[in-house]
Subunit: 627 residues, 2 copies
């Protein structure tokens, strides 16, 4: 503490100098910023200083994580994975059939999609808890986007082929984003967007399905089934919040399917208007590579559908993977996951599957059932394989209304009104984004909701930069700390000095605004001082501590502000510019213009220098400005 006189001199001549970073070769700074942009997690760290053979093995393990963990796999793990795998299979089979129906695709596709993709993911994925499968929202999107131009009932083959093609494009997009390390595109779907979007999609799906269910009420037994389902699923829904009861949630769909099918079979309700699934083809996934409709006139439609559903599926899958990884304290590489999702969907599109990802509900069941590794996905795929080979006839009598109920039950869990309330409480703008997504999806279309929410989120970022906060600082009594006058009403202002902090980078988007706003601060301060008869303004200190970067428009703005300030007979002083800002101010000669002696390391030092000049020099330094 004894050195504080040196640290915060009251004279301008022994203050700390703000360093100008030494010039760096262009390629070096380019390399560095590219690395920070695309490799923030430094995934190649482990390859450093390794012999070539080890590098090869590490490289293989990087792309096929199974090679890394399989050698350490134990029987203990297998027991856990077996139970978890069977549990999620019991969920996957009815859900798969239901979601395929939601996508207007043949029910059997839901089973196919729970067979090949989980196997691919088990080899390439790095999450230990993700359970792969189709999801409701992507299914709904497929139906609404493809359905807008091709009717699934009139032209089922074309529709089916377009769905495969869309899946292919989704996979290519996902893998490409991962390889190019553009994972941050997914980050633009903010939490608020997803909450609103999911709730909107769930509402739409529920309304659609409800129509079907209510239409059935005229028939015998129909209502009973509905009420049975309802009571079952009310429990299911509640149990989501109490992991101990997750077995109910996990087993309910299969139980409902079995009970419903038995009921129909015994009462022959299928002859009285209750629609059933009907015949399901036995056998494993037929190849569908030749079905990809690249030559079709609808290929752009398939591409568009693939892009939208691919991004949505990625967002869900990555978020789910990350959540569970955080819970179990292991690391997930987002870009690597994208490659895994992409390969799994490309493989899926060639084996009669449609879009798959890591759904939250199924992964939560997997997690609660105690899965240890991706082997639970292999177990699930095996169970589905057995079903495909031998058990498909059992689903003949499954009533469609059961499937609708399964969908509705899953959907109700997606309407997270508590999250929306939390958004309202904490951040009003996020709430607006959320509600816009919801309203857009419900009253417009899924795409409109998505576009509005993403546009609003991006607008917020742009507005943050376009309208940065400028705050007036004052001195916290008995300290060298300067803080916002508004946040800390106890602070004292420094006579003759106006201290302004700029809270954003100075870019083209805010240069004009900042010029206006700084002028206005000076005007207001001078008016205030004049009316109160205090000492007139002499110095303007700009605290640049939060200005992380500046571009040429921003430097132009500073030059203009300096001219305005000079012309009023005041003096501009800079405090605490960062290295990037100093570099550019130096290169653009602005430092020479302002004089490097007027750039201080801290606001306290700048104030000290101003006070020194104010009290010791008779000819006010502000008048000898170099205009």
């Amino acid at each position: 503490m004894g050195n504080s006189d040196y640290a915060f001199p009251s004279k301008g001549d022994c203050a700390h100098r703000v360093a100008i970073p030494p010039p760096q070769p262009f390629y070096k700074s380019l390399k560095r910023s590219l690395k920070e942009t695309f490799f923030p997690d430094d995934p190649l760290r482990q390859f450093k200083n390794q012999p070539p053979s080890r590098k090869f093995i590490l490289g293989l393990q990087y792309f096929l994580p199974i090679l890394e963990w399989a050698p350490r796999y134990t029987f203990q793990y297998f027991k856990a994975d077996l139970i978890a795998g069977i549990t999620i299979a019991s969920l996957a089979i009815p859900q798969g059939i239901s979601y395929a129906q939601l996508a207007n695709l043949p029910p059997i596709l839901g089973l196919y999609s729970s067979f090949v993709p989980p196997l691919v993911y088990a080899m390439m994925g790095s999450s230990r808890d993700l359970a792969v499968g189709t999801v409701a929202v992507a299914s709904l999107l497929t139906a609404s986007m493809l359905g807008s131009e091709v009717n699934a009932n009139d032209n089922p083959t074309l529709y089916l082929h377009l769905a495969f093609t869309a899946t292919f494009f989704a996979g290519v997009l996902q893998a490409t984003l991962g390889i190019l390390r553009l994972g941050f595109i997914v980050d633009f779907l903010s939490h608020a967007t997803i909450v609103g979007f999911m709730a909107g999609a769930a509402t739409v799906v529920c309304l659609q399905q409800l129509k079907g269910i209510l239409g059935l009420e005229r028939f015998t037994h129909g209502t009973d089934v509905v009420s049975v389902m309802r009571s079952v699923f009310t429990q299911t829904h509640q149990s989501k919040r109490r992991p101990k009861f997750f077995w109910i949630s996990a087993m309910a769909p299969l139980t409902s399917v079995i009970l419903g099918s038995l009921l129909v079979y015994l009462t022959h309700a299928e002859n009285h208007g209750v629609q059933v699934i009907g015949h399901l083809k036995k056998g494993l996934n037929p190849p569908s590579l030749t079905d990809l409709a690249f030559g079709s006139q609808y290929v752009t439609l398939a591409m568009k559908t693939g892009i939208v559903t691919g991004v949505i599926a990625l967002a869900e899958g990555i978020a789910v993977g990350r959540s569970f990884a955080m819970f179990k304290n292991y690391h997930i590489d987002g870009n690597k996951e994208m490659i895994a999702f992409g390969m799994m969907n490309i493989a899926g599109s060639c084996t009669s599957c449609y879009l798959t990802t890591g759904p939250f509900s199924r992964s939560a069941v997997n997690f609660n059932a105690g899965c240890k590794t991706a082997v639970s996905n292999i177990v699930m795929a095996t169970a589905v394989m057995i079903t495909l080979l031998f058990l498909t006839p059992l689903f003949h009598y499954t009533p469609l209304v059961v499937l609708s109920s399964i969908i509705i039950a899953a959907m109700l869990g997606l309407i997270d009104y508590e999250a929306a309330l939390h958004l309202w409480k904490v951040d009003k703008f996020d709430f607006v984004v959320c509600i816009s997504a919801y309203i857009g999806v419900v009253f417009g279309s899924v795409e409109i909701g998505l576009v509005i929410a993403v546009a609003l989120s991006v607008l917020r970022v742009l507005l943050f930069v376009a309208r940065p906060r400028t705050t007036v600082l004052g001195n916290i009594p008995n300290s060298m700390v300067y803080r916002s006058v508004e946040h800390y009403p106890v602070v004292d202002s420094v006579p003759g000095v106006l201290i302004l902090r700029i809270d954003a980078p100075i870019y083209f988007a805010n240069a004009s605004y900042l010029r206006e706003r700084i002028s206005r601060w000076i005007d207001e301060e001078e008016d205030k001082l004049k009316s109160s008869g205090e000492a007139s303004l002499q110095y303007i200190i700009l605290d640049m501590g939060s200005v992380a970067n500046i571009d040429t428009s921003g430097i132009g703005m500073l030059e203009e502000v300096k001219k305005i300030i000079d012309r009023r007979g005041l003096k501009l002083v800079l405090a605490n510019p960062g290295s990037e800002v100093m570099k550019k101010l130096d290169k653009s000669k602005f430092l020479d213009e302002i004089g490097q002696e007027w750039v201080y390391l801290t606001v306290a030092e700048a104030v000290g220098a101003c006070n020194f000049m104010l009290h010791s020099c008779k000819p006010a330094p502000a008048t000898d400005n170099n205009v």
Copy 2:
């Protein structure tokens, strides 16, 4: 200085508290942020505390600034404005005809457009130096956009009507942006974008015109005219940088027109293949309100053209007005200027004018000729009126090649390679934006160049937020100041403590990135300490001083980071969060989670508290985390 012990306690218990701002009613904070977004210059300040009659007069003066300055107008001013007005008229007449030709419109439109719009601007505009007229880039854009669907030669009437309609839409857009105070949209055309865009447009125009000129070389006298023009304009171009010779620059076009016309008249070159303007209709602007083609099938084309040209014209006009206002130290309200531009173009579209704005070249001449107020525009309009009424026959023999030369001369001044070099030197990204705009315009189209440049600029802003800088801080010896280790190599790190500064708001767009990046900093620090055998890491201090805002995704990220840090047996400490961040951390209960005693006003106080705990408490506080 004696109080510094109080200011920077070495014990955690007497440090400053970070205030949680008192809750504000929602409508109040909404009102405030709306005001900061849309009324940063507080234009209604002068209306405060005024009697209603005065308010009415101020209101009138707000919309018609002429009412404000006309009463103070003197004969001295008029003399200056008269000279300036005649000077710019001598430039306006040949330039107007040339640019109309560039836009594929009848040459007389160039004169019409220099008559009505300047009168409107003189009443509504707030710049004293702007000289109103048509501009080359907007003319070129009109030709390229309208010409893409309607051929001006095959269908001149439709083309003309569409040009009026586009001007009308441009005016409506400009006025609307001004009234809604959305002027910041224009700010998204950064300086770099405009430099590249203008140079690209100039290159395209020069190449177009040169083709015409070279095609004439086979004819008698053609080459002579060209060489004469060239020598004249080489001078003109150079003189731009020496204001004393501005008379040459100002008078050269008219002199060339007179000389060229005389030459053609005397040698009868028009009969030997030299194209001349031909007959120009005498008389003032005919009304064109009924020509506006709202019912045409091309109305969307006109609207698109109007939007693009309107924004470009606004960007130039506002930038020019602001530059000269800054030079003469008066204030320009960007949004008010937009309303003036808009009204002037709406009026213009009804009186046979096409798009006008405040071109740089003409305004510079106006400024150099010593204009005092917008009366110079009225003088120019009067001179053009006299020309329209009596002098149009004199232009019959003006060779088109002279007009091409005038255009080329004006265009060469727009290729500002020095500005591009400056961009390269100061900011590489700005240079890339500039060159992209140039290449886009030259090799693609004017629209493509513009879209690429704006997209890159916006991408830069988004990338700034998506990939914020995180820096490790250290203690500047013998002070309480903490600065970047990289920028100041002299700083000392604090044993057992890692201090990280985040240089951007924490938003959805960077939440995942920051989580990864902070984890990696901790990993790297632990590796480093382990290999050097130093004291192990105990505390992570996050300096939030530059975090101006946070959204719900950002708070989620902090919660996750806290979990990660807790699980490693470390302790998270926050330093210097701003008022907005504190408010949200409080509302989301994160403050309770972390414990408010772990939030410090400065990094120095946070370090002091950590050191106190490290040295006095045996059971390391990091282990009693509340997971």
